[in-house]
Symmetry: D2
Subunit: 147 residues, 4 copies
């Protein structure tokens, strides 16, 4: 049976705005390639926060954390100092112990970079796979049904 991977629905995606500072750029005059991953994690964090979840509290109170399992990135055009960027984040698959995200980095209407990221939920300390906190999992399922 072929696994159906839906194209991400960008219209419904979470959006987070950031600005490019000197710290983000390199001597090539553009944003350093690893720093897009920072932008994308900020956006995933804010997406979680929009669902009422603080990762700091989740670690302290539920001993759960997230860890990136794999990812792929396409870089289409470079971002520059002072650019105002929008990071779009959408869930493409939710499982009990992992989440699949699609994310894009845009400057106005131009897609500068896009990525697919699979994040696993783990026990703090041991890094063993662990189910997502139940209330978060339910929220995400409901979110997906609405889309």
């Amino acid at each position: 049976m072929r696994k159906l991977i839906l194209e991400p629905g960008w219209d419904e995606s979470h959006e987070w705005k950031i600005c490019v500072y000197y710290e983000d750029t390199d001597a090539g005059g553009v944003v350093y390639y690893a720093n897009y991953l920072k932008f994308m994690e900020r956006a995933r964090t804010e997406w979680l926060r929009s669902l009422g979840v603080s990762q700091h509290e989740m670690a302290l109170q539920q001993a759960r954390g997230f860890i990136v399992a794999d990812l792929s990135m396409k870089y289409r055009a470079p971002a520059q100092l002072d650019d105002a960027l929008t990071i779009q984040t959408t869930i493409t698959q939710a499982r009990q112990a992992s989440l699949h995200f699609a994310q894009r980095v845009l400057r106005n209407q131009d897609v500068l970079a896009e990525g697919r990221i699979r994040v696993g939920c783990v026990e703090v300390g041991s890094f063993r796979p662990a189910p997502l906190p139940e209330s978060l999992y339910q929220q995400i399922i409901q979110l997906q049904q609405r889309q």
Copy 2:
């Protein structure tokens, strides 16, 4: 003649809010000490932007840039993941080719870190000292007289 160094006036200072993400922290569980300098530069950039100045345009159009000449930092208490921080920025001295800033990093009313930074204006490429763009210099002088 003793040189008069005025205590910075925090009431009038520029404020910029940031959030602490995983990228900012280290294995000690707190914000890595060098990253406060990133936060402070973001705030100086936004202070400049509030005066209508984009460093990217300033480099392209006027071949002027800023470079940090010296700084001092005091770290009072550590910031942690998910903290909402405010960066206060105020000018303590303005000269034709350099600016002295005092900056503080706060969580609510607590001062977590404070710094003094001297920034020189330089010619792009050669890094030779150069006067501030005249309109920026005039704006800063007027700003100081109002305080």
Copy 3:
């Protein structure tokens, strides 16, 4: 016609050793996921240097630079503070204006992370695709024939 993608030959790969410092870790107690891309770029830089190429000189003298076009990463196990890591780098495909790398991050014999990176050669400034400097291209072709 199916495109043949050879498995990378790790035995012949370039190796570069690095150490994990506080700056590389995050509050989860392990290396932050974006920082593996820094390690891997350091290793690609040292691989180039082992061929006699300095990217700084290449930019100044030949107006050529490299830019990452796409990449994929698998994270297998986390690296921690003070870990001694080895980065293995091997070329899987060389074209006139792009290079495909396979890279691995190891602690002793354990593969902690692995990635595939496609790097394009571009004109400095315009970021338009440009052929690799001829002498570098010839060196890489010879390197591949020896493997």
Copy 4:
């Protein structure tokens, strides 16, 4: 009684070599100012390692860590991509719960940056001041008497 602050003795200082990679630079074409603090911490870590101390083990086995209390920096000339730098590290004062370092960043014989850093020893988790591990303290005292 005036407090005697000795000029640091660079001849006896610990030396650590690093290379400037793209990740260290910014769109100004030079090393980003906060990154010198990373270089200097790498060097302090290697100085500790040269005394047989791993900070990771110190945290796990003795629940002690280091935290920067204050610092000052002077930036004299910018470092650039591919520069080979030497970081010199010397102790200027050792107390039971804190260490004062002087550090310099050199390219060949040129001092590009220099700093003074006061590091406090703290209890892991609480960040309360704590005495240095006794064997480390004794080693440092002996090191200073030899100079």
